[in-house]
């Protein structure tokens, strides 16, 4: 019965309150890799590398903004621009813990397949995304191993481990029964104690059915049902202390995520920027420059507040949540080096990811772009570009994330080695 011990309302009265009340642990614990939690932020649609990630500033083949300049956070280079002060502020504060992973080739320039490939390394519907795979092996059996507050997920054959919060906090209403108040035919949820008796009968009935399942497929389905029923019971037992509400924008999603991670409700949480149901805002085939600039400024301002909230909140392993949580920020595609006739940029197949947190060797860029904005092969041991190195793809991202979670990528069926150079 892990993870339902901390009354969220005592911890967070909202994101601002969390940031204003810094939580100072008596002793900073370094959690084992198997205890690390993960927070994924999806900026789906395809981001423009020239705005932050790829400081290719003097190439005739790459159009950059007039005032773009090289920014350095220690040894970590990025693109600095006066219109995006939050980017510099973020790297100044968190750059020593952050790594930029460059030159990830996603083998598609179509959004649906690119998203699936980046998030799971595969187009096979049976394969789950990285977050769900990591969540499925959570050692403490959280009630919602992979909580999706915004964005996409691919459950594959691990569907029992992933669930959405709902775009209007529906999970909260389901857990308490309050959602039934929204019914044109008037009904009320029964007394929780009575429905608990039904739960107990149902658990026994499923156990009996498992004994006579007949086929492996049916046995698997019944196992999942039993596991989901037990977890749902724990959600209901929390009597509303868990709070899955929150709005559409990133800050509001962060409030849900911080609570879920802090209370051990989830090992992985997925959010979307700028909105929880969005996968188009970053897709700037027209008017790219201004829109992408605003999106990056908003994203990094939000990431800064996210990190503040993580640092201000206790983690289940005893440290601050920032000590226990790996933050992964990604976009399935990038955008072309030059502008099109509509001042937009079209799809580009190699992208970057921002990874920071425990286990990450921060303050560095892993991989590189050339003067045409193509990714370069990488020496996996050092993380440096090398002609004899490995071309990076989603499978390397996945292998590295699994390694950060103390999961052997090979045993998990990922056909790639982790990028050791990114690991602390």
């Amino acid at each position: 019965m892990a993870g339902l011990h901390l009354p969220r309302r005592a911890l967070l009265g909202g994101l601002a309150a969390a940031a204003a009340l810094p939580w100072l642990p008596a002793a900073r614990a370094t959690p084992a890799a198997s205890q690390r939690r993960f927070l994924f932020v999806q900026a789906l649609g395809g981001w423009d590398l020239t705005k932050v990630f790829a400081p290719v500033l003097d190439s005739a083949d790459v159009e950059v903004e007039p005032e773009a300049a090289l920014g350095l956070a220690g040894a970590l280079p990025y693109v600095d621009h006066p219109n995006r002060p939050s980017v510099a502020a973020f790297f100044d504060r968190w750059g020593d813990q952050a790594a930029l992973l460059h030159g990830l080739y996603v083998a598609s320039i179509a959004h649906p397949s690119a998203i699936r490939l980046l998030l799971s390394g595969s187009l096979d519907a049976a394969d789950a995304d990285w977050a769900t795979r990591i969540a499925a092996q959570a050692p403490d059996d959280p009630v919602l191993p992979h909580l999706v507050v915004g964005g996409l997920y691919y459950a594959g054959e691990l569907g029992v481990h992933v669930g959405r919060a709902g775009s209007a906090g529906q999970l909260q209403g389901l857990s308490t029964g309050e959602l039934l108040s929204q019914s044109d035919q008037r009904v009320v949820a029964p007394d929780p104690a009575l429905s608990g008796e039904v739960d107990a009968w149902l658990a026994q009935a499923i156990a009996s059915a498992q004994e006579g399942a007949g086929t492996a497929a049916r046995a698997h389905r019944l196992d999942a049902h039993a596991q989901a029923l037990e977890r749902a019971g724990r959600v209901k037992d929390s009597e509303g202390l868990l709070d899955f509400r929150g709005g559409d924008v990133l800050d509001e999603q962060v409030a849900v995520a911080v609570a879920a991670l802090s209370q051990g409700v989830s090992r992985c949480v997925t959010l979307a920027h700028p909105r929880r149901d969005d996968q188009v805002e970053w897709d700037t085939h027209a008017l790219n420059e201004g829109v992408q600039s605003e999106l990056f400024e908003d994203l990094f301002a939000g990431l800064g507040r996210l990190m503040d909230a993580l640092q201000a909140s206790p983690g289940p392993a005893g440290g601050s949540l920032a000590d226990e949580t790996v933050v992964v920020v990604l976009s399935e595609l990038a955008r072309t080096p030059t502008l099109n006739a509509s001042n937009g940029r079209d799809h580009w197949p190699c992208t970057s990811a921002l990874i920071l947190g425990p286990g990450v060797r921060g303050g560095q860029a892993v991989g590189a772009y050339n003067a045409q904005l193509y990714g370069q092969p990488v020496d996996l041991a050092s993380g440096e570009a090398s002609e004899s190195g490995t071309w990076l793809g989603p499978e390397h991202l996945g292998a590295t994330l699994l390694a950060l979670a103390d999961i052997d990528p090979r045993e998990a069926g990922v056909p790639a080695e982790p990028i050791e150079g990114l690991l602390a």
């Binding site: 999970l171 389901l174 035919q185 389905r221």
Partner: protein, 532 residues
């Protein structure tokens, strides 16, 4: 999808010369009755149907014939094809903000839902009216409900409530779903992207050509990407098809997706804009064309269109992608479809005879995976059994995500969730519990006010009295027959367990009625109600 391989294997071969295909033991008639009823009508069979098949398994085939004539069949197709078209989203990229009538959130949600259903309603109409499936891309009408008639440039062609045939008044070429607002609101394009995403959608939905979504290699490239698009076989393989197909669709390119008058109308003056953008003239897989109406005719004449219809029906009912072993039956279903004049009723009736469809549970690779009820089947079954449908402010809570629990309970929104969940998750279980509790409460409340002769579920007991364990067991047995579609013996573990549950609940609440509510909710939450 294996349509290409199957088409090549089967296009010219007579049925009996194809490979024999796999053999699997057939499921019993009651299992098949439940399976087909849920798949074709979206609800469990009636008690009379169950008893007829129990008495004579040979009665099944006649009942299957009736199911495709049931009003539930076209409604079921709306839900099934929503997984294919992926248009039933709660949010579109275009903005409704400039239509003042949509200040009411519930009304805006209902409108968007209707827009997403527009192409699906044409599928349903073709099935209901037994019109040739080619009208999906050639019809000179669409389907519209009162909300669409009010806000889109449409006029009804028939009187009636609900969805009726209608015609656009903005000079758009009539080409079935290709002329619908719903398809192109879901799959938008920009001037620069030149309808490639839309062409990809046409290929996937209507021709089962999903190679555009396959992975391609970009690694190691040092050449200019635009140049590669034109010259590299790994790029031209798709772009040579996508780019000219996209050239048919310029009348639906909206320069300002915030402008209500623009996104609700077709612009015929833009039809030739391909000439000043890509410079690539309209073609369907190498066959030159002219306009959207012509594209519809080209698609209807393309053998892959009929093959894709068959493949789609098979995949939807078999609950898996096609395999080479399916070749023989693919041919059979195609022959049945063609022989019927391209009737969807005939096609689906044919697929229900597929031995893989009719097989008992199996772990064999070619067997159909276990089926889990989709939200529409859950809602339909509960409504048929109890009279309860979870709606709020008129919106179906199992068919929306903005307010409801469609994706949380395992369904598809077509954007963030494109395939239904197979395994139950924590959210599935919670959502199922709540809708089960609501339906059970509604049923007990309603039947408690009826004369016993008018009841449909509680025929064996007085809901206000303790009838004794023997009578409770008889009533439980009857409920299981109606709700799970299977008769359990009075001394079976399930009947005894539910009887004991009723006793415990009645004792603790001193309310037989409340005990029945909770027992019925338990029956609805049992795996046998979910998996079929």
């Amino acid at each position: 999808m294996v349509i290409g391989a199957l088409w090549l294997a089967c296009a010219t071969a007579p049925v009996d010369s194809a490979s024999p295909g796999p053999t699997l033991p057939e499921a019993d008639a009651v299992t098949l009755l439940n399976r087909a009823s849920l798949d074709l009508r979206g609800r469990r069979p009636t008690q009379a149907e169950l008893e007829a098949v129990e008495a004579d398994p040979a009665a099944l085939d006649a009942l299957l014939d009736e199911m495709v004539d049931d009003p539930g069949f076209p409604e079921r197709l709306v839900a099934l094809y929503a997984e294919v078209f992926r248009t039933r989203a709660d949010r579109f990229l275009v903005s409704l903000d400039n239509d003042v009538d949509f200040l009411d959130t519930d009304r805006a949600l209902a409108f968007k839902h209707a827009v997403g259903e527009e192409p699906l309603r044409l599928v349903a109409y073709l099935a209901e009216q037994e019109l040739p499936y080619t009208e999906l891309v050639t019809a000179d009408y669409t389907l519209a409900n009162p909300l669409l008639l009010e806000h889109l440039p449409l006029e009804a062609l028939e009187e009636g409530e609900g969805w009726v045939p209608a015609r656009y008044l903005d000079d758009r070429p009539a080409a079935g779903v290709l002329s619908s607002t719903g398809l192109w609101w879901r799959y938008t394009s920009t001037f620069e992207n030149a309808n490639r995403g839309r062409a990809q959608a046409i290929g996937r939905i209507l021709l089962c050509d999903d190679r555009f979504e396959a992975a391609v290699s970009f690694q190691g490239t040092t050449a200019d990407l635009e140049e590669r698009v034109r010259t590299d076989p790994s790029c031209t393989g798709c772009h040579a098809t996508l780019d000219p197909l996209g050239s048919y669709l310029w009348g639906f390119v909206w320069r300002n997706q915030e402008a209500w008058l623009e996104v609700t109308r077709y612009n015929p003056t833009q039809e030739g804009d391909w000439a000043v953008t890509t410079g690539i003239s309209p073609e369907l897989y190498g066959q030159p064309g002219h306009d959207l109406r012509g594209l519809g005719r080209q698609l209807a004449a393309d053998p892959r269109f009929v093959g894709c219809a068959v493949e789609t029906a098979m995949e939807l009912l078999l609950n898996r992608g096609l395999q080479v072993e399916d070749a023989r039956w693919f041919t059979q279903h195609r022959e049945d479809f063609l022989g019927s004049g391209l009737s969807l009723k005939a096609l689906y009736r044919s697929v229900v005879d597929n031995p893989v469809y009719r097989a008992a549970d199996s772990d064999e690779d070619w067997a159909a995976p276990l089926r889990t009820v989709r939200p529409d089947q859950l809602a339909g079954s509960l409504e048929a059994l109890t009279g309860y449908r979870w709606t709020w402010q008129g919106n179906d809570m199992l068919d929306t995500d903005a307010r409801g629990v469609r994706v949380l309970i395992g369904g598809v929104d077509g954007v963030l969730a494109t395939s239904p969940a197979a395994d139950p998750s924590t959210t599935t279980v919670l959502a199922l519990e709540r809708v089960a509790e609501a339906a059970a409460q509604w049923a007990v409340g309603r039947e408690g006010e009826l004369d016993p002769a008018e009841r449909t579920l509680f025929l064996e007991v007085d809901l206000t009295a303790d009838p004794g364990d023997a009578a409770v067991a008889v009533q439980v047995q009857a409920l299981l027959l109606r709700c799970h579609g299977r008769r359990h013996a009075l001394d079976s573990e399930l009947v005894l367990g539910l009887t004991a549950l009723w006793r415990a609940l009645a004792d603790s609440t001193q309310s037989p009625r409340q005990a029945w509510v909770l027992v019925l909710s338990g029956i609805f939450r049992h795996p046998d109600f979910l998996v079929y």
